[in-house]
Structure formats: C-alpha cells, structure tokens
C-alpha cells in the first residue's frame, strides 16, 4: 500500500458522520484516497464523538477530527436524523483555520474516481459554496422548492447539500451559521429537508452551480443517461441505499463496493450489508423496460438540463434572488 504523509495543504475532502455511519464513510474515504490520482489534499472524517478508523485509512493518511457540539445548532430540527447531519454546517467555520477550501461529502456516496485536486481549486466566482441542484431539476427546469414557496420567493436554484465545495473564508465572513440559526429560530416551518432547507433558505440561490456528475442522484431512474455522462460521485438519496435491504434496485456494483471493502479491510462490518436476495438476481427485462420508458419520455427536460454544462468543470454562477 502506498503511503500518504501530507506536509502542508490548504484543501481537504471532509466527511462527517457518527459511529453508526462510520463504515459507509470509511468506504468513501478509501475510494477518495485510492481513486483520485496524485492527491494533494487532506481527507478528514469529522465527528462529534471520537471515532476508531479502520487501520487501512490510517495507513492512507485519512485523518479523524473530533468537533465539539455547537449549542447554537440545538435549534435545528432533528426529526429522523442524527445531530451529525448538522455537523456539515459547522465545518466551514471549524476547519477555516486549517483549510481554504473543503469539499464536504455525505457518507452515502460512491466515488468512481476523478480529479478532486482540480475540483477543490475550481473558481467559484465569488460564491460561498459550489453545489449541484437537487434532483428535481432533471425533470422540472423551473422546479419551485417548497421552502422558497414558504418564503414567498419565485422559483430559485435549490441545491442538494450532499456535496458542498466550500470557500471557508467567505463562509465565515458571511456568517452562514449565524444566519442559519437565526432563520431556524424565526421560521421552524422551513425544515422540509433539515439542514438542506436551512442552507437553501440562507443562500436564496446565491450559489455556484456544479455539473450534476459531482452529485449524481438519479441513480435508479436514469441508467441510459448515466452511461454517457462523467459521473464522479453517486449520491444514494432516499432510504434505498445499496448497503441496505431496500437498496436492491441499484446497480449491483455499488453494493459490491461496500462488500469488497468490508471483506478486505474491515471484516467486523461485513454483516452490515445484507446478502443479495437469492443466489443470483433475476434478469428482469420488465424493470428495465419501465426505466427505459421513464427516461425516454423525460428526455427533453433531461437533455436541456445537461446541455447547460460545457463539461464537468463548468460553473454556473447564480445571484441571490432578492437581488434580481
């Protein structure tokens, strides 16, 4: 195994999780370490609690960082979610002294490979953060998020917060956490999608939009489209995670990636991934046809969305809606 001993770097890929999600975060951290080429950035797993990383991650130079809980964030709704979900909001401040740029990743993400050094250095054109718009935009170009309706705003770019490229200096200067806490206190009705709702309500569309390949969410619905797109990060939104029993509608290779890692590097976690039902899954043309039709009938909206990006390095700068 090659070793990684960072000297000084001002950029980091950061994951945030609690002990329950550490196995899945570990797989992603390993994928980032192995499949990002000649890396010149840190990889950090942040948590409110001390975490015991698998030895392979330590060998690869992955760092564990314990972050104290923020009392201010106690106002956030934690319905169904662990408080770790709000940890990402702290990262821009807590890590600002160490890093200029951080790429935050949810733990339910699969990394196929890609040049993350180049992504971390991307020009955000003055925005606090770069992100991919939520999955609805594939089908509804003028998707009007519920939170923006509640705020009385017109249709505005609404991001998914599973992948965030954060300019830490701007994040601190604009007091994004302070604004989020204030918004949460004033409008608790805005918590439609937890932290994602609040971040969107604070930014109000003031974002650098990234190519969807950096946070690809329609993993089950758009296989024909995915075949021809550069997709670096697969984000398993909804409860259908490949490592869960509900996740058998995903391509099998995603499940295999978790099994491979656990079997080779963390055998204590092997049982977390349920066995594939039946010895060999059926060859189901009916499901395939359903997916074919779903993609075909939505093809114009999908193509219109994707055609906005010259390549995966394109950045589309949006301005805050109240400045328009």
């Amino acid at each position: 195994m090659f070793s990684w001993r960072p000297d000084t770097t001002k950029q980091a890929v950061v994951l945030a999780c609690d002990a329950n999600f550490l196995p899945y975060a570990s797989v992603l951290a390993w994928q980032v370490a192995v499949y990002s080429g000649a890396r010149d950035f840190d990889i950090v797993i942040a948590s409110h609690e001390p975490l015991d990383l698998p030895p392979i991650l330590t060998e690869l130079g992955v760092k564990s960082r314990q972050v104290p809980r923020s009392d201010a964030l106690n106002v956030m709704s934690i319905h169904r979610l662990p408080i770790a979900a709000y940890l990402r909001m702290q990262l821009g401040e807590v890590l600002a002294e160490d890093y200029d740029r951080i790429l935050y990743l949810d733990s339910d993400i699969h990394f196929a490979g890609g040049d993350l050094s180049r992504l971390l250095a991307l020009d955000l054109k003055g925005a606090v953060l770069g992100a991919v718009r939520d999955v609805n935009v594939f089908y509804e170009p003028n998707y009007h998020a519920a939170e923006f309706k509640l705020l009385g705003l017109p249709p505005t770019p609404y991001i998914n917060t599973g992948v965030l490229l954060i300019d830490t200096a701007a994040f601190v200067a604009q007091d994004i956490v302070g604004q989020a806490v204030a918004t949460a206190k004033q409008r608790p009705d805005l918590f439609v999608y937890h932290d994602q709702s609040i971040i969107n309500c604070v930014l109000k569309g003031n974002i650098a939009e990234l190519h969807p390949g950096w946070n690809w969410m329609p993993n089950v619905r758009l296989p024909a489209v995915a075949q021809h797109q550069p997709i670096m990060f697969r984000h398993f939104i909804t409860d259908q995670k490949p490592f869960r029993a509900q996740g058998f509608s995903h391509d099998h290779r995603f499940r295999a990636a978790y099994v491979n890692f656990f079997r080779t590097y963390a055998p204590q976690w092997v049982d977390l991934v349920p066995a594939t039902p039946g010895a060999a899954p059926g060859y189901d043309a009916a499901i395939g046809f359903k997916r074919f039709w779903d993609q075909y009938r939505n093809r114009k909206a999908i193509n219109a969305y994707l055609a906005r990006f010259a390549d995966e390095w394109s950045v589309i700068r949006w301005r805050p809606v109240d400045e328009k």
């Binding site: 000649a38 021809h228 080779t264 899954p281």
Partner: protein, 327 residues
C-alpha cells in the same frame, strides 16, 4: 514451422522472487499493455480477500515496472519461449506474449496448485477470490466462461478447426481461466496446443483461445459469466443489475482506446487515477465531458434489455451460484 517436440528446452523464465503462496493470479503482458496489466494487478492487490495470493506479472524484456508499485510485491517473471510459439498467428495489436499464458501452468507447475490467469483488459468488481480458488473443478485443468456468442446460442460453432472437435461445441473465452496446474500437466495440454498450432498454422484467428479450446475438446468446466462478463462494450446496460466480478473489454475498443466513447466513463476514472500516479507521462483515457443523451442511446438501452433477453435469462439462470462450476 513450430517445433513442438523440443518445446521443454525452449520455454523458461526468470523470476524476481520465490513463490509465497500456493495460489497465484497471473497476467502476461508486453510493454504496450504493461500499464493496464499493472492496473489490474493493483486492483487485485487492493480488493482480493485471500489470506495470501501471489500476483505474477509475466513480462517481456522491454517492460519496466515503476518503483511506485513496489508495494504490490509482484512476482515479476520474464518468459523466454525461444521458437516454441514462433510463427503462430498474430494480428496488428498483439505480440507473441499473447501465447505466453499457455506456458504459465508448465513454468509454475511446482510453485502453485491453482493459477487464475487474467487478461490485462479487464475491470475487477468483485472480490470473492478466496472461494473461487477453492471451487470443485472435477479434476479438470481449466474452469472458464463461455465465449459471448455462445451465451444466447449455446450450440453456435466457434471452433475454427471444427473437424478437430470431437466432443462438444462449447467454447470458452481465454481472458479469464482458473487453471489447475497438476491436471494441466497430466493431460498434456500445452503439447496439444503446440501441435495444433503447428498443424493449422495461419488459420487461427483468436490466438491462444482457439488452440486451447481445440486441445481440450470440451473437457473443461464452465464458470458463471459473472467471472468474465463480455458485454460491457457491446451491450453496456445488460449486466448492471448482476453481481459481476470481472468485466472484460473484448474486441478492439478498450477504456484507453475508445474512439467513439462507447465505454462508460466509470471504467476510465479508476484507470486514470492509477495512470496519473504511476505513469504520469501517459495521456490517460479520454472521457467525453458532457452532452445530450441521443435517441440512439435510449434505443440502445432498450435493445440491450430486450434483445435475446429470454435466452440470456436462461443462460444466467444456469449458474444459481457464481462459485459453483458446471460441466
């Protein structure tokens, strides 16, 4: 003419270190394919679940392995075949190294019980190699996967020397072979391959694959197609829901030679990361950056799912367990 009578005097090798396991995964490459063979070796090193596994890299004299890959602990082997394979059929993309795989079981007959031979144009997705190495081969020398035309047409004639075939039409792809070294020696397969090569000089179009299929006359066991999935280029959507262990890029199109971008970018990302780290002078695989999904792409998706789907379902269903070989 190939002189098969004295091949034992001609085939030899030097190795970088002694064997450290009774099991080995072996690749054969020349300088052209070296980066890609090393990528496969690297993936094997990262993913295999064996307690110990030698990774044997059979190379030609012009191959230089970068120091950055020292952690792989490869057993580097330089094969000298003399005139044993001279004169056998070659196309523009291949050198004599394509026949070296036939010599591996002979060269390592005392070192290893079983050898998993792997082509260099593969992508590893599964890691259950420990169970693969211990499958019951019924005393046969080779366990392999049928060549792709026989997946949906099991009786399709693929043998180039049909008049030499005496038992069964079944024909395997030699890109992934589990080899039992004792059985391979005791049945004299290499001698028969060389004799056939000599007899049908210039008539073989699939190189070693034709020779070994003809030499075995159907006396090999079938592995599940999960171990050598050959539809990733021609029918890319076909196996996505299946638990594939090894994807094999058959034909002229490879992730690093994909002139019309038919191979999914995901196969190129991991290879590019490896090349950036170990072969920075190479350009890497070109990835189409963006673009619309054309009607043709959707049609291909639909065709992948319906074309001979019943026959394909029957074929896949023959292997309820991908770690049980069939006659």
């Amino acid at each position: 003419m190939v002189q098969s009578t004295d091949w034992r005097d001609q085939i030899s090798c030097t190795t970088s270190r002694p064997a450290q396991s009774r099991y080995a995964a072996a690749l054969c490459t020349d300088a052209n394919y070296l980066p890609y063979a090393l990528f496969v070796a690297n993936e094997l090193h990262e993913l295999h679940d064996m307690e110990s596994l030698d990774i044997v890299m059979c190379v030609t004299d012009d191959c230089v392995i970068p120091d950055s890959l020292g952690h792989l602990n490869l057993r580097v082997c330089r094969i000298s075949a003399g005139a044993a394979f001279a004169g056998l059929y070659l196309d523009a993309r291949r050198t004599e190294a394509v026949y070296h795989r036939l010599a591996i079981p002979y060269l390592f007959r005392t070192d290893y019980d079983r050898i998993l031979y792997l082509d260099s144009d593969i992508f590893i997705q599964g890691s259950a190699f420990a169970r693969l190495f211990s499958i019951d081969m019924g005393g046969r020398a080779i366990a392999a996967v049928r060549d792709v035309p026989q997946w949906t047409k099991p009786t399709k004639e693929l043998h180039p020397f049909a008049e030499k075939r005496r038992i069964a039409p079944k024909y395997f792809n030699s890109g992934v072979m589990l080899i039992d070294t004792v059985a391979f020696q005791s049945t004299g397969i290499l001698e028969r391959c060389l004799a056939l090569g000599n007899e049908f000089l210039g008539k073989s179009y699939q190189h070693d694959q034709d020779l070994i299929n003809c030499a075995l006359e159907g006396d090999w066991v079938e592995l599940s197609p999960m171990w050598n999935w050959q539809r990733a280029v021609g029918m890319p959507h076909n196996g996505t829901m299946l638990p594939l262990n090894i994807v094999h890029f058959i034909g002229a199109r490879k992730p690093w030679r994909d002139w019309d971008f038919r191979i999914a970018p995901r196969f190129k990302f991991a290879l590019n990361a490896f090349l950036r780290r170990n072969f920075p002078e190479l350009p890497g695989c070109e990835i189409i950056s963006a673009g619309k999904t054309s009607r043709l792409n959707y049609v291909q998706y639909g065709l992948d799912l319906i074309k001979r789907s019943r026959a394909m379902a029957r074929y896949v269903a023959r292997f309820p367990d991908d770690l049980v070989a069939r006659d």
